[in-house]
C-alpha cells in the first residue's frame, strides 16, 4: 500500500517536472543585447528640400540625415543584427517587405528582408521618384515611379547590403539588408535587439551599421537559456 502510494507520488512528481521543462520558455534559445557607440559621432545635418516644395512643406522642421541615428545611453540605432553563420538558409516568407517614399524620405531608413522575399516599393508623394538601389552582387536597376502609380515589386536572389538612392532627389538615402534567414533584428530607441527561437548550436552573430561597418561575435546556444551579446562601435566625428 505504502509502496504504491510512493510510486504514485514519484510518478506525479516526474510528470510535473516534465510539464515544467516543456513550458520552460520559447522553443530554442534567445540571443539579445544592446548596440552602443563610443566616441563622438558625426553631426546629422538638416536636409533642405526647397527644390521639391510638395515634400518640403510636409516637414515643419526639416528632417536630418540618418546615417548615424543614436538613442539614449549611447545607443546606436538602425543596426542590423543577424545570424551570419550556424543557421540554415530559409525560404522567403510570403508577406512582402514594404519600403515607402514619403515626404521625400525612405521609410524605414534600413529595411531588412530575406533572399527571394517580395519587396514592395510605394510612392506616397505628389512627385515622381526614381529609386535606384546600388547592389554590387545582385542585379542593378532603377525605376521611375510617378505619383499615384502602383508599387514596384521586385526581389533579390543573393544576400547583400544594398545602399539605395533616388536619382531625382539627391538627399534621399536608405539601405536594404538582404539576409539568408529569418534571424534578424534592427536596433531602435535604446539600441536593444532580440533574436529568439535559435535551436541549440554554435552561431555567429553579426552587427552591421551603414557608416561604421560590421562586427561579429560567436555564441553557443545549448538549451533554452538566453544569451547576451553586446556590440560597441567606434564613432567617427567626420
Amino acid at each position: 500500500m505504502m509502496r504504491a502510494k510512493l510510486a504514485y507520488i514519484v510518478g506525479l512528481a516526474a510528470l510535473a517536472a516534465c510539464a515544467v521543462m516543456v513550458h520552460a520558455g520559447p522553443s530554442g534559445g534567445t540571443v539579445s543585447g544592446k548596440v552602443t557607440y563610443e566616441g563622438t559621432p558625426a553631426k546629422q545635418k538638416p536636409i533642405d528640400m526647397s527644390k521639391e516644395p510638395s515634400c518640403a512643406k510636409q516637414h515643419a522642421t526639416p528632417i536630418t540625415t540618418e546615417t548615424v541615428v543614436t538613442g539614449p545611453g549611447n545607443a546606436l540605432d538602425n543596426v542590423v543584427v543577424y545570424v551570419s553563420a550556424g543557421a540554415p538558409d530559409e525560404a522567403a516568407p510570403s508577406q512582402a517587405a514594404k519600403f515607402e517614399q514619403k515626404g521625400c524620405q525612405y521609410i524605414p531608413h534600413v529595411l531588412a528582408f530575406q533572399v527571394n522575399q517580395t519587396l514592395e516599393i510605394a510612392n506616397a508623394d505628389q512627385t515622381s521618384h526614381n529609386i535606384h538601389p546600388l547592389p554590387k552582387v545582385n542585379r542593378e536597376w532603377n525605376k521611375s515611379q510617378p505619383p499615384g502609380s502602383a508599387p514596384i515589386v521586385d526581389k533579390y536572389d543573393k544576400p547583400e547590403f544594398i545602399p539605395v538612392k533616388c536619382n531625382i532627389h539627391p538627399w534621399m538615402h536608405g539601405n536594404f539588408a538582404v539576409l539568408k534567414n529569418s534571424h534578424y533584428a534592427i536596433t531602435e530607441g535604446d539600441g536593444g535587439f532580440s533574436l529568439p527561437n535559435l535551436p541549440p548550436g554554435k552561431y555567429t552573430i553579426t552587427a552591421w551599421h551603414e557608416s561604421y561597418g560590421d562586427q561579429s561575435q560567436d555564441v553557443t546556444i545549448s538549451g533554452g537559456e538566453p544569451k547576451s551579446v553586446n556590440f560597441v562601435f567606434k564613432a567617427k566625428p567626420y
Binding site: 558625426a42 528640400m49 527644390k51 526614381n130 539627391p170 567626420y238
Partner: protein, 267 residues
C-alpha cells in the same frame, strides 16, 4: 483667288505684329545691373527684325495683289539688274542688319563676359549635378577647400566631396541647397558640373550660362532688388531635368550675414 491670298497675308502680318508692338508680352522684371543692356539688345533685334518682316510681307502682298489677275501672254516686266542685283541687295540689307545688331550688342556681351569681377566680389560656388544645384560659401577663412569627387557622399549631405577630416579649410565651408546673396554686391559665381551638361538660368538676372563637364566657368553679376527668384536648369540633363531647380534669395546685407551664420551652424 490671288487677291484673297494677298489680303490674308496682310491680315496675318499685322495680327502677328500687333502683340509685339503693343507690348502684350511683359518681360520678367530686371533685377541686375547689366540687364537693361540685354533688354535693349533684345528690343533692337525685335525692332530690326520686325520692320524687315512687316516690310517684306507687305511688299509680297502688294506684288501678289498687283499681278494675280495677269492675262495669258501679257508682257512680264523685270526689275533692272535681274537676279544678280536682287541677291546683292539681299546680302547688303540682311548683312547690314546683322552687323548692326552685332556692333550695338557687343557691349552687352563684353560687360558680362569680357570684364573681370571686382576684387571684393563675393565668391559663391555652384555645382550642378543630376538633378539639383548645390552651393558653397568659403566660410570664415575665405578659402574654398579642395574637392575630392571620390569623397562625395550624398547620404551625408557631402555633395561637393569635401574632406574635413584631412583638409582644415573644409571645416568652415558652408554648403547649401539655396543660393542666398546680398543685394547690391557683386557676386563672383564659380561654376562646375558634377556629371553632365547643365545650365544656370535666372531670368530676372538676365543670366544664362551652361555648365560644361570638365570646365571651371565663372560669371559675375550684381542683383539690385531683394526677393526670391528661381534658378532653373535649361540644358537637358536626363530624366530629372524637369525637376532641377533651386531658389535664389536676394537679401539685405545684414539679413544675408545672419542667414550665412545660421547655415554655418548647421554644417
Amino acid at each position: 483667288m490671288g487677291k484673297f491670298f494677298a489680303i490674308i497675308l496682310v491680315v496675318i502680318t499685322l495680327a502677328s505684329a500687333y502683340p509685339i508692338v503693343t507690348h502684350k508680352f511683359v518681360q520678367p522684371e530686371d533685377i541686375s545691373t547689366h540687364g537693361h543692356a540685354i533688354d535693349e539688345q533684345l528690343a533692337d533685334t525685335m525692332a530690326e527684325g520686325g520692320f524687315a518682316f512687316v516690310g517684306a510681307q507687305l511688299l509680297l502682298a502688294f506684288f501678289v495683289w498687283k499681278f494675280s489677275s495677269r492675262k495669258e501672254g501679257s508682257k512680264v516686266t523685270h526689275l533692272p539688274g535681274g537676279a544678280k542685283l536682287m541677291v546683292a541687295t539681299a546680302f547688303i540689307l540682311v548683312g547690314t542688319e546683322v552687323l548692326a545688331l552685332g556692333v550695338l550688342g557687343q557691349k552687352a556681351w563684353a560687360d558680362v563676359y569680357f570684364t573681370p569681377p571686382k576684387p571684393d566680389a563675393l565668391q559663391v560656388q555652384a555645382q550642378a549635378g543630376q538633378f539639383a544645384f548645390y552651393f558653397r560659401y568659403p566660410g570664415a577663412d575665405g578659402k574654398f577647400a579642395p574637392i575630392h569627387p571620390d569623397k562625395i557622399d550624398e547620404g551625408n549631405q557631402n555633395y561637393f566631396g569635401l574632406d574635413p577630416a584631412n583638409d582644415v579649410e573644409a571645416r568652415d565651408d558652408i554648403v547649401t541647397a539655396e543660393m542666398t546673396i546680398p543685394v547690391n554686391r557683386e557676386i563672383h559665381l564659380l561654376m562646375h558640373s558634377k556629371d553632365v551638361g547643365h545650365s544656370f538660368y535666372v531670368r530676372e538676372l538676365r543670366i544664362q550660362q551652361d555648365f560644361v563637364p570638365g570646365l571651371d566657368l565663372s560669371l559675375h553679376f550684381t542683383a539690385t532688388k531683394t526677393g526670391k527668384y528661381e534658378i532653373v536648369c535649361t540644358q537637358l540633363c536626363g530624366l530629372g531635368h524637369y525637376n532641377m531647380k533651386a531658389y535664389l534669395n536676394v537679401l539685405p546685407q545684414d539679413e544675408f550675414e545672419k542667414w550665412l551664420k545660421d547655415r554655418a551652424a548647421e554644417q
